[in-house]
Amino acid sequence: MSESGPPAGPRWQTQCGIGVALLLVAAVLWYDAGRLPRAPTVGVGPAAALWLVGGLVALLGLAHFVTAWRARQAGHTHAGDRGNHTSLGIVLAALVGQIVLLEVGAGFMLSSLWLFALTARGFGERIGPKLLGIGAVLSIAVYLFFTKALSLALPSGPLERLLA
């Protein structure tokens, strides 16, 4: 399992981090397996799969340390490109904001409008009447289509109650 050449795979520090994370996941699985009652008399119980998959994950975690070591030997220490953190941050804020808005009962349309507008902002669009207009039309259309035509329930807030 060798990752040769810098472009393939993450740099060695990241690989170590992934290895640690995998070992943690394995520990969680094993902890849960130990908590379950003993296996039935015939065959294996629900804990067996936890032990097995936990073992696999732990093994993969260790393998990540090995490849990290090799990547370090190969001098793979720098991440490729740093990327655009501003855009990424704005889109993440859009997603988290939508959850918060739904949680406080703002309803589907308002939170969708927020998600749409802020995501577009992340992709370089200026927030203005045009963007908000398109977002509003989209949110209302999607809401009406899914609640009226397909009769699926979407979270409702003040705006949705006006339409109902």
Binding site: E3, L29, Q98, I99, F108, F116, R121, F123, V142, P155
Partner: protein, 499 residues
């Protein structure tokens, strides 16, 4: 003859006006969404899953298949005109097709892709109709140990054999397996990894994972690479029709594409990536003028597109006959079945004859509709490519959130969606494949069930998997498929070629 009879019966189901309508809506929606840049067929299916929630099973599954095929036709249009392959299977199409479009031969490129897909889809559906009943007959004699062996084999081939890194592929698979363990154990009713959270008792939803990994992950990844430069779309200039020379060069490539695509797709070998790239390489080797490759050779579009469509149909053989999804899209189709409590596999051919054969017959109809829909109307679809990126991704995220909320109206589910999105983003950054994780989530619990059933029957004897010829062979092949890429890598390094 029995097959022919079943197929005719299926056709009579598929051409009922209601089902025709569903097929039509499916291909239309699939094309519409699939043509949007950066959206792969599997994502198309995942995003549109909630649209089919409230329909009757047969119509809904037919619509679903339409979405699947429509998404594939749409993706090839995007690959040709925008050079944005929505998925690995369209990379070959993007290489040659986009060059053709830039040289003013976008029309023939689109035509050979569409006609080739139609041709391949039709032949592959026939093969599916012939092959599936045989496999069903075979599968009736399968014990749980055989199923377990088959699933282990699928795990290995999907995650390890054909990817760029065995370790990263298996890690992705293992994460899917871990997610599959969350929730109530189906045999004993005990909660695993739920930590008293009621929302976790039902387990992780496949749709949420797929939409999170593909849609959210993709949006976050594109945002993180955002530079403010819009990609340029090649207008379709000149004739849409293929010349006699184009036909002469295409038809053999289509045939070879089907020959590669269907068998590889039907084996549990992980989807359409391998056959399309193989087809591209072979066409390049066989071409009369190999120097045209890389500059817009029509064979390089015709072969891979046919292989792609044939492989997609091929993956339906293990899905329908064994209930075994071997690609991300097949996993999404399985999720579509599961929302109606239907379990694909040998039994389905007996209990839901109408549905199975109606579905298979509807592939013919869907492909025909797509051919009609795509060629004359391509100018209309191209307009969709001009949707500005900010609106496109804003819309994708709204739709993704809506789909998740429609399936399960809770902010917890939405938070899981975002968590999976961040996971998908990181996996993209670090070059971990996404499909094994989805297959792990859907196949993991099934494999566990078979594993435990086998041990119950054998009274706890763990050697049961090696005492039966079928499962022993399958596990041996799986072990070989796991070790082979590592061995080849080792050999290459010994020869000093692995610089």
């Amino acid at each position: 003859m029995e097959v022919l009879h079943s197929l005719l019966h299926g056709l009579s189901v598929a051409i009922q006006p209601g089902n025709l309508l569903f097929a039509g809506i499916g291909v239309l929606l699939g094309t519409l969404v699939g043509i949007l840049p950066g959206i792969s067929p599997s994502l198309t299916v995942a995003l549109l899953l909630p649209v089919t929630f409230k329909l009757d099973p047969t119509g809904s599954i037919i619509m679903f298949a339409g979405i699947y095929f429509g998404g594939m036709y749409g993706s090839s249009t995007t690959a040709i005109l925008l050079n944005t392959p929505g998925e690995a299977a369209s990379i070959a199409t993007a290489i040659e097709g986009h060059k053709m479009a830039r040289a003013g031969r976008g029309g023939p490129a689109l035509a050979t892709a569409a006609i080739g897909s139609f041709f391949a889809g039709t032949i592959a559906t026939l093969c599916l109709a012939l092959l599936a009943p045989t496999i069903v007959d075979l599968a009736v004699g399968f014990g749980p140990w055989d199923y377990f062996g088959l699933m282990v084999l699928a795990f290995v081939t999907i995650s390890a054999t054909f990817g760029s890194s065995v370790l990263r592929g298996i890690t992705s698979l293992a994460l899917g397996l871990v997610l599959g363990l969350i929730g109530i154990d189906k045999l004993t009713g005990q909660a695993r990894l739920a930590y008293g959270l009621p929302s976790l008792l039902d387990g992780a939803s496949i749709t949420t994972l797929a939409v999170g990994l593909f849609a959210m992950g993709e949006a976050l990844y594109v945002a993180s690479r955002f530079t403010g430069v819009q990609e340029t779309i090649e207008a379709v200039r000149g004739s849409l029709w293929m010349t006699a020379d184009d036909w002469r060069r295409s038809w053999k490539a289509w045939l070879r594409g089907v020959g590669l695509g269907f068998p590889i797709g039907a084996l549990p070998a992980g989807g359409a990536e391998v056959p399309t790239l193989l087809s591209y390489t072979i066409e390049r080797k066989l071409a009369g003028e190999p120097n045209q490759f890389g500059k817009g050779a029509i064979e390089g579009v015709a072969g891979p597109e046919a292989a792609n469509n044939a492989a997609a149909t091929g993956t339906l053989v293990p899905l329908l006959a064994l209930g075994l999804p071997t690609s991300a899209t097949a996993a999404m189709l399985l999720a579509g079945f599961q929302q109606y409590g239907l379990v694909p596999g040998p039994l389905l051919f007996v209990t839901n004859t109408d549905l199975v054969w109606g579905l298979i017959a509807s592939f013919f109809i869907g492909n025909l509709m797509l051919l009609v829909l795509n060629l004359p109307l391509v100018g209309l679809w191209v307009k969709l490519l001009t949707v500005p990126q900010p609106y496109l991704y804003g819309g994708i995220l709204v739709f993704a959130a809506m789909g998740t909320l429609a399936a399960n109206p809770s902010t917890f589910e939405l938070a899981m969606l975002v968590a999976f999105g961040i996971m998908g983003y990181l996996m993209r950054c670090w070059d971990y494949p996404l499909a094994p994780m989805i297959v792990g989530l859907i196949l993991g619990p099934m494999a566990e069930g078979q594993f435990r059933r086998a041990l119950q029957i054998s009274l706890g004897d763990p050697w049961v998997f090696f005492k039966h010829g079928g499962s022993a062979t399958l596990l041996a092949i799986a072990a070989f498929a796991l070790v082979a890429p590592l061995m080849f890598k080792g050999l290459r390094r010994l020869k000093g070629e692995d610089a």
